[in-house]
């Protein structure tokens, strides 16, 4: 009897417990992702319109108002860019500026142990990409995922649209006796373990993972790619290639 068969009676029938607890949230599906993507596109188009139309009108009425018109155009350019940047920053590739590996108390051995386990989880094919870019590539039903320490990027089928999700390891629940002693330090996980947590949760229940995570951005792939650290951009290219198949 296989482990899967043996554990069937004890498995969580509806996927992630974390998702089941969010009863007020709509279940994620391909349809909800498409709808959210369209809303993001409409929002971006609205922002560009709201700032570009006054700029054009000002120039038409009085060309000398061009400094004010330029401010309008700058807003139309900057706001979508800031939104894409926010989405890209949420992911936090291993080794990047906000990575746990850069913490002052980050220790070498736990990081190596965690990365070793993560390497075993992702398998040989993705290990090199993980080492080079700090992002773990995982194929799913919704598309191809790139998983970082505090979030994930979903490259949708076809590779043109990406969704940026903010999701992280929850704070550890402390036992009552620990809670009374306020000096108990918060347990910080190595960077590799943070990614491993998210990777396992994604593999356990992809739709539940998308339900728990917060969608921070949805838009064109190139907009997110240019906001990632240069070393992590090849992961987007690899995911796009995988999503386009």
């Amino acid at each position: 009897m296989s482990a899967r068969e043996a554990t069937a009676p004890g498995r969580v029938a509806n996927g992630l417990d974390e998702a089941a607890r969010l009863y007020w949230r709509e279940d994620a599906s391909e349809a909800t992702l498409r709808r959210d993507g369209r809303r993001w596109t409409a929002w971006t188009a609205w922002i560009v319109t709201v700032f570009c139309v006054p700029g054009v009108l000002l120039l038409a009425i009085e060309p000398l108002t061009f400094p004010v018109a330029a401010i309008c155009f700058a807003h139309a350019w900057a706001i979508p860019r800031i939104q894409a940047r926010r989405g890209a920053r949420q992911v936090v590739p291993i080794g990047s500026e906000r990575s746990a590996t850069r913490r002052a108390d980050a220790a070498g051995d736990p990081e190596r142990v965690a990365l070793g386990l993560l390497g075993d989880l992702v398998g040989h094919a993705q290990r090199d990409l993980l080492a080079a870019t700090g992002l773990a590539l995982e194929r799913g039903r919704l598309g191809v995922w790139l998983i970082g320490e505090q979030g994930a990027i979903l490259i949708r089928p076809g590779g043109r649209r990406v969704d940026c999700w903010c999701v992280r390891v929850a704070e550890q629940q402390q036992a009552p006796q620990q809670r009374r002693g306020s000096a108990t330090p918060r347990e910080e996980l190595p960077a590799g373990d943070r990614v491993a947590h998210l990777l396992l949760a994604l593999r356990e229940d992809e739709l539940g993972f998308a339900k728990v995570a917060n969608l921070g951005f949805s838009g064109a792939r190139w907009r997110v790619r240019q906001q990632l650290p240069a070393v992590s951009r090849p992961a987007v290219d690899a995911a796009r290639a995988a999503a386009g198949r």
């Binding site: 482990a3 992630l16 390891v169 910080e188 995570a213």
Partner: protein, 74 residues
């Protein structure tokens, strides 16, 4: 040989090892497993096809059972 590990600040900690048919070893592993679940950990078994499954009972025929913390939206 089965192995129960917990992802923690050390990278991971091996909590128990057991062999199928080793009654006392299996009991110790099951006890450690239950204690971690009571602490709020989530147990996961990975399969060769790249999928994983949440388990609430220690699968004694699994090679590796990983205990992780829950995830949350950021």
């Amino acid at each position: 040989m089965g192995r129960l590990i917990r992802l923690d600040r050390t990278g991971h900690t091996t909590l128990a090892k057991w062999r199928t048919g080793d009654g006392s070893g299996e009991e110790r592993a099951a006890a450690a497993f239950r204690a971690e679940l009571e602490r709020g950990m989530v147990a996961s078994v990975s399969y060769d096809d790249g999928t994983a499954e949440v388990v609430r009972k220690l699968p004694l025929d699994a090679e590796l059972v990983v205990l992780r913390r829950p995830i949350a939206g950021g």
